[in-house]
Assembly symmetry: C2
Homo-oligomer: 204 residues x 2
C-alpha cells in the first residue's frame, strides 16, 4: 500500500514528506510558517495525524491550505492504508507538496513507510543533544533533520554542534538545518531544500 501511495504521488508529481518528531517539537508551527511564506509559490496540502482532536487541522486550515485530519485513537503512528484514504480525500493538485504530519512519536513512525519521498525529522533544542544517539532508528530513517526552536538556545544547556555531530554519526547523509519556526530564523534553507526537491512538472 505504501507503494501505491508512492505511485500516486509520482503520478501527480507531488513531493510527499513524512514529518516525524516527538510531541511538541513544533511540526505544526513549522507547517504554518512554511505555508504562509511558500504557499503563494507552491500548492501545499497537509495530512494531519493525531491520536485525538482536530486542533492541528484547524490551525492548518486557518492558513488556507487544504488539510485532512486523521485520528488514530490509541494508535501510535500513521500507516499506509489510512494515508491512502486521506490522499483521496485531499486530492492534491499536480506539482504540489503534501506534508504528512505524523503522530508525535520519535520511535514508532520510523518503521512505517507511507509512500513518502522522504522522512523529515524535527528535533527541538529543548529535547537535548543526545536524542539522535538514544533514538537512532528515526534519525537513520530520515533524510532531513530540522533542529527547531533555536530561538530558545540562550536559555538552554543545549550544544547544537554536538547535536549535529550526534545526528551525523548515526546518519552521515542526513541534511541538517537549524531553524526557528516561531521567529523564522533559518527557514530559507528549508524552503530552498523544498524547491530543490519538488518534482519536475507533470504533463498536461
Amino acid at each position: 500500500l505504501a507503494m501505491r501511495n508512492r505511485g500516486f504521488f509520482e503520478g501527480r508529481k507531488v513531493l510527499a514528506l513524512n514529518l516525524v518528531s516527538s510531541p511538541g517539537s513544533g511540526k505544526t508551527a513549522l507547517l504554518e510558517r512554511t505555508i504562509n511564506e511558500l504557499g503563494a509559490q507552491i500548492a501545499i496540502g497537509v495530512i494531519e495525524g493525531d491520536q485525538e482532536t482536530d486542533n492541528d487541522a484547524q490551525r492548518i486550515k486557518a492558513t488556507g491550505a487544504k488539510v485532512v485530519q486523521i485520528n488514530t485513537g490509541a494508535g501510535c503512528h500513521l500507516e499506509a492504508d489510512i494515508v491512502a484514504r486521506a490522499i483521496n480525500a485531499l486530492d492534491p493538485t499536480n506539482n504540489s507538496i503534501v506534508f504528512i504530519e505524523n503522530v508525535g512519536n520519535l520511535v514508532c513512525p520510523a518503521l512505517f513507510d507511507l509512500g513518502e519521498q522522504a522522512k523529515v525529522a524535527i528535533l527541538s533544542t529543548t529535547e537535548g543533544e543526545d536524542k539522535p544517539l538514544k533514538y537512532p532508528h528515526m534519525f537513520r530513517a530520515a533524510q532531513v533533520l530540522l533542529i527547531n526552536k533555536i530561538d530558545l538556545l540562550p536559555y538552554l544547556k543545549f550544544d547544537i554542534n554536538k547535536c549535529i555531530a550526534n545526528a551525523l554519526a548515526i546518519n552521515p547523509s542526513l541534511k541538517v538545518m537549524a531553524v526557528s519556526a516561531q521567529e523564522g530564523t533559518g527557514m530559507q534553507l528549508w524552503y530552498d531544500w523544498l524547491k530543490a526537491n519538488i518534482l519536475a512538472p507533470a504533463r498536461g
Copy 2:
C-alpha cells in the same frame, strides 16, 4: 507477568513508579535531583529504558543510586517480562522506591502495565499546553503529572493554567505538580507525594 512484578514490589514494600513522557521532557534530570535530595532518607533504585545507549544509566550511576539499563532496540516501550529480569538484577531493598524510566514516548507506554503502583507522566512546558488533549491515553493512564521546565516559562508561549485544565478534563483525579528539575522549583511537592506514598515497612 505485570502481576508478578506487582507481587514482588508488594512483597518487598517497594514503591514502583513508571515514568512516562516524550523524549527530552527531563525524566533523567528529575531522577538525578530526586536521588540527590531524597536519597539520604529513602533508598532509591532505577531501571532505565532506552532504545540505545547507556547515557542515562551512567548519569544515574553518578548519583550513587543502583541502576539497571534496558535497551529496547527498535522497541518503543518497556514490557513486563524484560522489567521482571531488570528487577532481579536490581534486587531492590525493602521499603525502597524503584523508578522505571520508560522509553521516551508519550503514546505506546500508556498501554503497558509493568506492575508499577502508578504511572507518573512528565510533560515539559516546551511541548505545549494542548498535549493532554492530543495524547489522552497517557494522561488517563497516569496518576501523577509533573509539568517540568517551568524555569523556561518566561521565554515560551505556554499557558500553564490551560495545560492543567486540559489535563484535568482528561483525568479529573490526576495529581498535577509544576516543577523545574533543573533549578529545583516545586520539587518539594513531589518529594512530599513520594513520602506519602511509600509503602508501610516490610517486616524483618
